[in-house]
């Protein structure tokens, strides 16, 4: 585990010394601010918010932000190591492959959680002007964290498959866009197919969370997606070692 933290810490520092991370954080703040203001645009016309919740904002983060945020944050993590050859010293140190993968995953999660923490400002505003329900807020945040974790694990897998960051980003963007719009696709087919396609989609499992419901099956969906992606990333590193 010490190796995991060392690798995570190195990557976190990497984020804070890279201009890309600041630009990403800035765009994140601008977009979420815009989503928030739109969802409560009656803020100026009444004493109370029409609906004191972050439901729409969180939904929009999941659909419009995470599909590109996760690829951008993860693309260089393993691709760059392969391109620069630094993976040779990393993998010949006595670290386990899963420690490498988990460390990188944790680093991106920390960055994502930091960005997400900025949205707590909106919660404060809600509490100041309205009377938000605490339940849906908590479950909503749990949902977006799980959603983000799944998206990041997909990005990490893509980054392990290539030494080209751009390719990694495009691959994970493609997968995430697909998983985001599977729910829409499910409406185009009928019967069992519709259910199956719908259940595979990432958005399908998100609505309950923002409505204040923590359904085990939804938690299981995101957690298993994450686990499978991280597992595949470890395998991908192993085959790189044993090819």
């Amino acid at each position: 585990m010490r190796n995991t933290w060392a690798i995570a810490w190195k990557e976190i520092r990497g984020y804070f010394t890279s201009p890309v991370a600041y630009v990403v954080a800035l765009i994140f703040v601008a977009l979420t601010g815009y989503f928030f203001v739109r969802s409560v645009d009656s803020i100026l016309s009444g004493p109370n918010f029409p609906e004191a919740s972050l439901r729409d904002t969180l939904r929009q983060i999941s659909v419009f932000i995470l599909p590109w945020l996760a690829p951008v944050l993860t693309m260089r993590l393993l691709a760059e190591e392969q391109k620069m050859g630094t993976i040779e010293l990393l993998l010949t140190s006595p670290v386990r492959d899963w420690e490498v993968v988990l460390g990188k995953f944790i680093a991106t999660m920390v960055f994502f959680l930091g960005a997400l923490a900025l949205t707590l400002w909106y919660v404060l505003m809600l509490a100041w002007r309205g009377n938000p329900e605490i339940g849906p807020l908590l479950s909503g945040y749990l949902g977006i964290i799980l959603y983000g974790g799944a998206a990041i694990s997909i990005g990490l897998l893509a980054s392990s498959l290539t030494s080209n960051q751009i390719v990694a980003a495009v691959v994970s963007l493609g997968i995430l866009v697909l998983l985001t719009f599977l729910e829409v696709g499910a409406d185009q087919v009928t019967g069992v197919a519709s259910t199956v396609v719908g259940q595979l989609g990432m958005t399908t499992h998100f609505d309950d969370f923002v409505r204040g419901v923590i359904d085990t099956s939804n938690v299981v969906y995101y957690v298993s997606l994450m686990a499978v992606m991280l597992f595949l990333t470890v395998r991908s590193l192993e085959t790189r070692r044993w090819r």
Binding site: K10, M84, G85, E88, L89, T92, S93, R241, W242
Partner: protein, 317 residues
Amino acid sequence: MAGMVEVKHLTKYYGNFLAIENVSFEVKKGEIVGFLGPNGAGKTTTMRIITGFLPPSSGTAAVAGYDLVDKSRQARAHIGYLPETVPLYTDMTVEGYLSFMGTIRGMNPKRIKARIADVIDSCRLGDYRKSDIGKLSKGFRQRVGIAQAVLHEPDVLILDEPTIGIDPIQVVETRALIKDLAGTHTVILSTHILPEVSMLCSRVLIINEGLIVAEDTPKELANRLQGVERLEVEIQGPRIEVMGVLEKIRGVLEVACSPNGSDQNVYKIQARRGLDLRPTVSRAVISNGWSLLNLQLVSMSLEEIFLKLTTSEEINV
């Protein structure tokens, strides 16, 4: 005790390309072994297998008794490695990088701190400890590479061309550093530089086109591979007669002389291995009433041996 590094029948294919074939050798504790071979011989490939970065297609490699496939992590814990390309994280400072490498090699913070001070000193990185690695020159990166390889005082050091790209003073210092490690550490280094091998190594492995073609101490290797002894003699006397007499001496295989018009010529004599013909030749010259102006044994330099080894088709060692 078994060898610190044991390599048995290693073969490695890249796709269909055979990079190394049936490579076997053993390195004992405290030995410094030189891995010598021309470009593309398979030195890096072999080292990547020993460090657990690449899997062998067949055969086994073990470090400190741990197999690099079955017990890879335990084996890797005993290795310090300087890859040929010296891959470093360019966005880290020298100190930050060394600290990271120390941590993932399982060193505790206190020891990391002490050892960083040591290696920064021994690799002359003092002025650069807070510099970004990305801004360092090639030579200084090489020093950082060496620093990280020795940081955790590994039992086995694998150095892929450690003195390439650094200035002559640093080359001398690096060699001294490697020499210092002998005895307690086991070192395998690859190089193209022959004097480096005779200077540092207790044993040389010569590899060519994926095969080990010779293995011995630098000195023995020179003797063994020489095959013939060569003498250069400068004699004042009638050339044809001199040639005739020299050729009749027992053990002489061949006499060559390019005439220069005068009767003072240099004769190149090849004799059977292990024979020192100097006394016989000098007596023969004197007893014929000629003058012996110069007489010397020509021993083949390692360079020549190396060339011979790697160009000749029929070497049986």
